[in-house]
Structure formats: C-alpha cells, structure tokens
Symmetry: C2
Subunit: 478 residues, 2 copies
C-alpha cells in the first residue's frame, strides 16, 4: 500500500511537471483562432471514431503483403497509395530513387555436433539472414561455433581462437527495459551486434556471424534487419538466431564442441528504381509552407509490415481523408509522404532531402510515425525547447483521448531526420514501446497486431497536429 | 474497489470451501505417523531447493532434443533416463511397445491468388503438418480455399461447394478462457477440428484440410498434434496454420478467391520398437503395493519437448533423487515410469495396462505430470470423493510452498488414464494453465520456458505426494 501511494505521488508530480513545462510562458497573441480550435475538436472526434487507417493498413498488410525495397509488392504499394491519395483529391507525384535490391533465399541451419547428441541426428536452428548478407556456399558451410557476449570478449579471444569459426554474439535484448516502456533504448543497445557483428568477426577470420535476435520475442522468432560490411574487407554471411536457439547453442557450447551447418542463399541484385509517394493538399493561404505527414512504405519481408510501418503510412493517409470528411482546408500545405527504403538504405529520404535542399525554410514542420500503432500518450518533438508552448493548445485537444502529453527528443524518426537536422520542427506520435519490439522485423509483424481503436487514436494525433500546425497563426521558433 | 472486495470475498469463500471439503470427516486413527510427517516436511524443504529436475529437463531438451516416437532421440532418451535411474540405485527395466513412426518432411504453403496481389508474387503461409498426416504430391497441390468456422458450416456448404477445395477450419482458440486459468478447457474445444477436420472435409470431397492452430500463440507459430482418419475412407493431408495465417486467409477469402499451393511430404514408416522406462524403488514394508510417479518421454518434434513433457519426466525423476538425498525409504514401492508415445498413439500406457491387468489392485496410486511446470497450486485427484480427506495432511505440508489445495477431477492424465478407469486413485500437480497452451506443440516448447523455481516446486508436490502415499497407514477408499 505504501508503494502504491508513492507510485501515485510520483505519477502526479510527473504529470504536473510535464503540464507546467508545456504551458509555461505561453506566447501571445493567440496561437490558434477560435475557429481553428473548434475545427480541431471536430477533427479529433471524427478521427478517433474512424476506421480509415485500420482499413488501409489492412490492405497494405493483407492484400499487398511485405514490401521490401525493390520487390514487386513495394512497387504495387507505391501505385496503390498514389491512387488512394488521388481519390482524395491530392496532387500526387512519384519521386524517383534507386534502392538496394536484396532478395532472401533459402535459410536454414542445424547443430550437427554437440554433447549428448543421438547418433545420426541434428537439431534445427531457427534463424534468418540479415538484410544485405552475402550467401554461404549453396550446399552450406560447416564450422565450430564460438560464443561471445560482447565485442570486447571477441577481441580478447584473438584471431587464433576465432579464425575459421562461426561467431555467435549472444548479447541479450533487455526485455525488462522494453516492458518498462523503453523499447527503443533496449533496441539501440542490442542492434549494434546485428549491424557490426559480421564486420568484427570477419576481422579475426571468422567464416560467419550469428547474432541473438535484437528483439523481445521468446517465441522462436528470428529478427531480421540491416547489417554492415567494411568496404574492401572480406564479407562473411550474417544471420540472427531466435532467443531460444541462442540459449541452446550457448548452453551446449559451455559443455563441449558445438558444430553448425549453415545455409544462407540471399542475393544482392543491382539497385532497382523505386519511389517516394508525395501527395499535396494545397494550403489556402500559405501554399508554399509545408507540413509533412509520413510513414515508410517499404518493410522487411518476413511478416506483413503491419506495425513497421504499414501503420505509419495508413495513419498519414488518414489525415487528408479525415480533413475531407470533416470538410476542412488547411491554410498551409499538408504534404503526405510514403517514404521508400527506410529499412535498408534510406534512399527515399535522401532523395527528398537532396531535392528540397534549397527549400528547407519552407518546411514548416515534419511528422513521422514509425514506432507502431499502440495507444499514443501524445507526441514527441524535436526542435527548440522554446517552441513547445506553441503546441499546448493542440495537447489540450488531444487530452480528450488521453494523448495530451508532449516531450522533447533529439530526433523523432529516420526519414524526417535530414530535415530535423536542418532545423525543421519535427514530430512523432509518442508510444510506450512496450510490445513493439516483440514483433518488429519478425514474421509476426502482421495485421492482427493492430488495434482498430489504437490506430484511430494515432490518426487523431497526426491529424490534429498537422491541421493545427497548418493553421498556426505564428511561425515556430527554430 | 468494489470489484476488488468482491473478488477477495469470492477467493475466501472458495478457499474455505476447498479446505473444509478436504478436511471434513477426517478419518481416524492417524493417517500418517509422526515420523512420516516429519520426513515429509524435510522432503518438501529439500525438494523446493533442489535443481535436480531443472538440470534433467535441461539435458532432455537441450542435449537430447525433441523425442518423437520412433526417432533416434526418443531411443537416446530411453537409454539416458534408464541410466540416470540406475545411478540412483533403482531396479530398472525397459517395457517394450511398438510405436507409430511418422516422420515430418518438407512443409510449406503459399497463397498464389488473392484480391490485390502484385503480379508474380505469393504470400507465405506458416503451417505445420499434423501428426499422422498423409503427404501431398511432392510438387504440391493447388486448390481454392474455403473457410468455415464449424463442422456444421461445412456440412451446410455441401459436396458441391467443398469438393476439390482446401478447407480451412477457422475456429478460434479461446485465449481469454486460457488466460483465466482454464487452458485445458480451451484446448479441448479447439482440438476437435485438428483431430476431426480432415475426416469431415474428406467426406465432402475436399483435397486437404487446414486448421487454425489449437493454441494461444499469436507469434506466427503453427501448432502440431495428432489428427485422425476414418478407416477405409479417402485420406487427405492435414496441417495447422498459425493464428496470423488463419486471419489473413479468412480476411482475403471474404473479398475474393484465394488459392493456395500446399506442399507436405511427411512419411508414415512401419511401426518401430520402443520402450517405457520403468524403475522401482522397492518398498520396505509393502513392496508389492505400488505408487506410480510419471511423465511421458516422447514429445512432438517442432520444439524441444521441454514443457511437454520433459518437465513431467524430470519431476518424476527427481522423486527418487530427493528421497535419496534426504535419506528416506518408502514403505510401499515407488515406481518411476517414463511413458513412451503419449503424443501419437498411447502405445506405452496401453502396454503397461495390458501387462498389469491382473495386478491393478496392487496399484495403490498413480501420479502423472503432463501440463507443464508452472507454479503448482496443489494437486488434482481422480478417485472417490471420500478419499480426499486422506490427503489433507499432505496438503498441509505443501501449504508451506503455496501448493496446499486439492480438487476432484474425472481424470488427471492420459497415461495413467487406463489405471484411473480401473479405480486406481490418481493424482497430478495442479497448474493454472495460463501460458502452457501458448507454447504447447509448437517450436517454442523449449528449455527457456521452464522456471528453475517452479519446476522445483513441482518436484516437491510429486515427492511429498508419492512418499506420503507410500507411507499412508491406511488403504485409500476406491
């Protein structure tokens, strides 16, 4: 009981701090007209009751399916989203970019020697090739496994112990940290081994690198994602094993020699043409000033790309749909962007940043949703601290759905990152990230992980934010 | 708050009912000597602190691996467990039985036609062949999918609509029921489609039967298990699709034609010789009276057979180990049995029941653990209601670890089932079954799902129960 009271007290203090921070030193004259405020309320109410985003992510996930850059499904998604935006009356263009075209092949592995094995048997290892990985020989490679927890442990072993081996980086994803709402931080810790493992292992002569999955799943799911190679150095295959398989290999390796047969046959094809989908809802008063609403259209190939990031695209798509439904026209231009190639290259956002480099000051704000579609607490903001009070009226309106909080961050997403760095005020829905990394980049990133109510709450956050910014009566300090 | 009070009140009433039920009309004279009661206390304390069962399930799961009947691993497990029991000084024999020998082959499926498909693409379907299934042609079969929720819906469609199709039985596992602690009841509802789906579909001319996985996983895991065929009728292949894939197929089938390519190449080989492992710890006073302690040694092949049922075997193995550690000799004989072929035939328990049919009355009691190794609340009992008070002193001792409850059931497990039916008082640890069916029969039934503390609690329940029964001063009403 004592702990409960303390906990409640801390919550109250925290809420007060956030609230006072956001509302202190509110600028005058009024930031939003009475008319705009009334419109925002109607927009909020319409968006939280809408199934538009839910239906759109359903189509992207179920009817189109996974959308890895360069794939036929990615191209189909470009065309579909462009059509949907045209239907809403937006000015649509496809912005070209060349994207990496990596194609998964066969992927399987077996433990073929271990302490206690029954003669003639093997044990299956559940794994998945990391994005960009080179292949093993088509008939597989066989080597002893050496297990390390960190880069330092690997270095300490030295070339004599590592050369010719398969290295397993057995760093555990911090599930407790994720369950506490800091999934992205836990992911940040784990992902360095996924990205850098093969480079470090290759330097010491290893023949392949395995990494424990950089996610919270304990359901025999392997977690893909990009890996890196050092230019000019030997490239060795890289794959992620499931939580369970990392546990088994590490357990068996403690008591004896463990040998694995590893077969991965991905291919890196020549870069392929692809596109960002850009659709403008022109502003009635300041058409040259732009508020970006966005998610990324490409996804990994194992699941359906529902939470990552069909949801973000669908939420962004819903903003013009909601404005049309409620009958609102923004004063500034609201620009929808479905980014291409966030997952393995960032070529779409680079193309946009390059094309708009002389036009950055006209970018009034940028919003990106790329952390799923759980219940939003409010929004993250990357920009000047002094700007936060400008958004307090928006938070007040979002408070009706429990999304009234805001928090400063250094960055809010990788696709708007180039704009954020150049001073464009940037926003993202604020999620708690408690379950996101249980499914992210796995075969279980599927439509059923989306709640109809929660994705509607996200539509509302993005719509209210976008329309509020489009009709803000003052410039944002930047 | 009101609900909380009501909930607490209900709990108290329930606890009082269980307790009064168990302790009413306690028989005299004393059921257990003071010496026995003191020994049981020492046994309980030693068992909850032991890592014996945890290490044994680790060896079965990691070092031996999955143990499907007829496999080399199942044979290796027979030899290993027999050796472990010999090390403890028990009289070991292997009881022969011929077991089905079904071997999983390739298994994959793709949706090849659906509304919205990108030209030239397919969508992967995660599935697994059901135990005993016949194969498709080696190059797969292609057919339209028809989705039904129940047998009645299938019947209503009739032969015209079903012939030549693949039927998907889309009955949902009741995850809410399972999360409330009634996993076995939820499983019982769902499993009828897994077992009977192919028979029902074949009667109407279908070419294959798919079934939504009969478990609680929402992590793209398919759930295997036995299926049935009608003697003399056409046999069609049967497979379980993951939760997610059932959702996708059902969603797409609502809006258009869905065609699937299905490839399953399992083989049914001739029955193979195998064994129950039987190990006796002879009783000092009534060696002919037997208390069975048991779990089943075979498992499905997708995971490691850790919760199903390496845990049960390891817990049973721990009973003689704990008795030896504490220095106790039972008055009646304690008989360890690692059953063979519980999963797909029950040949081991049938062989035992046949061999002992003239000796049933000498079976004083039988204990089986086959529902995982979560925190035990006490034990289930199948037998005469009047017998329950005889076990109250045992429950009192197990109360020290929160396992003081007991409950009447019609049956407690399939391997001791033939004995239960002939009147042998039968017991099983009482689990809440909240998470068991999230992993059961899937690739995620692995060692990491076992808690060291919880499996020790199970060892204690079985050890205290077994030694208490072995030293009970009176016969149990039967």
């Amino acid at each position: 009981m004592k702990f409960m009271k303390l906990y409640l007290l801390l919550l109250l203090i925290l809420a007060a701090a956030i609230s006072s921070f956001a509302q202190a030193a509110a600028p005058t004259p009024p930031l939003y007209s009475e008319k705009t405020l009334a419109e925002l309320k109607r927009l909020q109410q319409a968006a939280v009751a809408s199934d538009y985003a839910y239906r759109e992510v359903g189509y992207l996930a179920n009817n189109i399916g996974p959308r890895l850059s360069g794939s036929a499904q990615a191209q189909r998604a470009v065309e579909y989203v462009a059509d949907e935006m045209r239907k809403l009356g937006l000015e649509v263009r496809l912005q070209p970019c060349m994207v990496p075209h990596w194609v998964r092949g066969a992927e399987h592995a077996e433990i073929i020697e271990w302490d206690g094995m029954a003669p003639g048997t093997t044990q299956k290892v559940v794994l998945t090739a990391l994005g960009g990985s080179v292949a093993t020989p088509e008939t597989g490679l066989i080597a002893e496994v050496i297990v390390v927890n960190t880069f330092d442990e690997l270095t300490a072993l030295g070339r004599d112990r590592v050369a010719g081996k398969i290295v397993l980086f057995d760093n555990k994803f911090d599930s407790e940290m994720a369950a506490s709402g800091f999934g992205l931080a836990a992911y940040g810790q784990a992902v360095q081994y996924r990205f850098g493992g093969a480079m470090a292992a290759a330097r010491l002569g290893a023949v392949a690198a395995l990494v424990r999955s950089a996610g919270g799943s304990q359901n025999r799911l392997a977690h893909t994602g990009t890996m890196g190679y050092t230019d000019g150095a030997t490239k060795i295959p890289g794959a992620a094993v499931s939580y369970e398989d990392a546990e088994t290999i590490a357990h068996l390796a403690k008591n004896g020699k463990v040998r694995i047969k590893l077969t991965l046959t991905p291919q890196t094809l020549p870069d392929a043409p692809s596109f960002n989908v850009i659709a403008d809802l022109k502003g009635s008063e300041k058409p040259d000033e732009i508020i970006i609403i966005s998610g990324h259209l490409d996804s990994w190939d194992l699941g359906q790309g529902a939470i990552d990031d069909g949801a973000g695209v669908a939420v962004a798509m819903s903003v013009p749909a909601m404005l049309k439904q409620v009958g609102l026209k923004p004063k500034r231009t609201i620009r929808f962007i479905a980014w291409m190639n966030e997952e393995n290259g960032g070529r779409g956002s680079a193309a946009y940043a390059e094309a708009e480099k002389a036009n950055i000051t006209n970018h009034f704000a940028a919003i990106e949703a790329d952390l799923g579609a759980s219940h939003p607490l409010g929004f993250f903001f990357a920009g000047k601290k002094e700007a936060l009070p400008f958004f307090a009226p928006i938070s007040n309106i979002l408070g009706a759905q429990g999304a009234g909080q805001s928090q400063l961050q250094d960055g809010v997403g990788s696709d708007v990152g180039p704009l954020t760095q150049k001073g464009v005020p940037s926003f993202a829905p604020w999620f708690n990230q408690q379950t996101y990394f249980n499914y992210h980049h796995t075969a279980a990133d599927t439509f059923d992980k989306i709640s109809p109510q929660e994705i509607a709450e996200n539509s509302s956050v993005m719509a209210v934010l976008a329309y509020g910014l489009a009709n803000l009566e003052q410039p944002i300090p930047r």
